[in-house]
Subunit: 242 residues, 2 copies
DNA sequence: CGATGGATTGACAATATTCAAAGACAGTGG
DNA sequence: CCACTGTCTTTGAATATTGTCAATCCATCG
């Protein structure tokens, strides 16, 4: 049995027993390929499956009736998407692929089994959702209490951090399959204004963004501008059951 | 053993067995009184206790180094606070009382026991955290994609909904122990602008706010302005273990 | 009793959005 | 293969929204 990036993702939270890992493997049976820009879960409709992302990127989004939209999260290899959605009778947000992607659907019943028989895994799932909450909080602060440049700088810093984590190395350049209008929907800004802010960051020699590729010119400066802290995500797993 | 509002809160998510309920009672041993405006958990410091709120109100907040601040949540009787905080080595946000309050501290170890021996309760805790996430998402959309009046109208609608839920009745008037500057920190706006918006809502005969008391003049109109939906919080508990 | 912090309002300044216009580019259907 | 369509990119100018500053009043708290 190969160690997938999904399993490695879980292992980042805590050490797992062989039987825990064997159970996790059941989440990735039945991979399925989706083309880019496919809606996987539709806002407002019931969702009865969750998905492990094996390859590719997805966006979690919230659409308002008047067309305004907010991107809530970008997800990629190893992430579970749909956790929030299946907890409600109707999905409170939609999910779509950003690139061609391989997703592994699995039923809610696996969660039942996990809570009943794998308490340590259930705890890890809980920790993971606390982490997700922490990122959402960062998003709330970003939108509520930072201006446009700071927001953009902070968002790019977050993306950089995730890219490092995924690659296990530090590279000054990284891809995110996103367009400027989409970036604007992440940041709660208009597309036009994001162009201006990108320009400003380029002129101040902090970051460049060209067609899905970010190039960091001055990471320290960027983080200072964004007031970015990377120390805050140290999870405490000491309380997990054995 | 009296049924506290904390236990009733849990029972809203799913039917519980007698032994589940007996276990929950252990969370409320050791009540402790705090005066208004006491910091219960400090941002950046380790927190090793969680708290059940027995009486009073608390605010969950995020302070930036430059003094800007964002209120993330308002909590009251029956809520657990500190769940996110104890999951990290250092608290990612602070918690303070807004009124005189009675809180019951309990150690993380109770969570360990819950996950190990009360899988159904663990599942309910998980559902509760999904609900909290859903509210955070609403907050993100509010900040990212709604203008000042809409934000305020939406926030007031949320508060009204919670007040109804707590009181189990519908009243056009309800208290929230909050000042305008604090309201501003909830909404990501300046205090001055909140005054303007409150005035606007009063002139359009939708809501009034005087010294901690909201009076709804036209709830339908307010919700329409806010694009408020109350149908989205129907949790699905069918997957919980027995 | 003075000091502090909230409430309130207006004028002015900064910030972000909308509108407009034009080129590039990818996908579609003929 | 090509014209057509829509979306993305880019920029400037006009407009709207929101924040800052300043001043006054008021209540509360030592």
């Amino acid at each position: 049995m190969a160690t997938t990036c999904f399993i490695r993702n879980f292992q980042r939270y805590a050490e797992l027993s062989a039987s825990d890992i064997a159970f996790l493997a059941r989440f990735e049976e039945g991979p399925h390929t989706y083309p880019a820009n496919t809606e996987v879960i539709s806002q407002g409709l019931p969702a009865d499956h969750l998905y492990v992302i094996s390859q590719g990127w997805c966006a979690v989004k919230y659409d308002q009736a008047d067309g305004r939209r907010q991107i809530l999260d970008l997800c990629h290899g190893g992430d579970i998407v749909g956790m929030r959605e299946v907890s409600f009778k109707r999905s409170i947000n939609g999910i779509q692929t950003l690139t061609d992607a391989v997703l592994c659907p699995f039923p809610k019943a696996l969660l039942t089994e996990m809570f009943a028989s794998y308490p340590r895994l259930a705890g890890v799932l809980f920790l993971a959702s606390m982490r997700r909450e922490a990122l959402l909080i960062e998003r709330v602060v970003n939108l509520g209490r930072r201006n446009a440049v700071e927001r953009l700088a902070h968002f790019v810093s977050e993306l950089k951090q995730r890219s490092d984590q995924l690659a296990d190395t530090e590279v000054a350049t990284f891809d995110v399959p996103i367009s400027v209008p989409l970036l604007a929907d992440c940041l709660g800004l208009s597309g036009m204004h994001v162009y201006r802010m990108l320009n400003q960051l380029k002129r101040s020699k902090l970051v460049r963004f060209d067609d899905g590729l970010f190039t960091l010119l001055d990471e320290i400066g960027l983080r200072r501008l964004a007031r970015f802290r990377d120390d805050y995500l140290l999870l405490d797993n000491s309380w997990l059951p054995a």
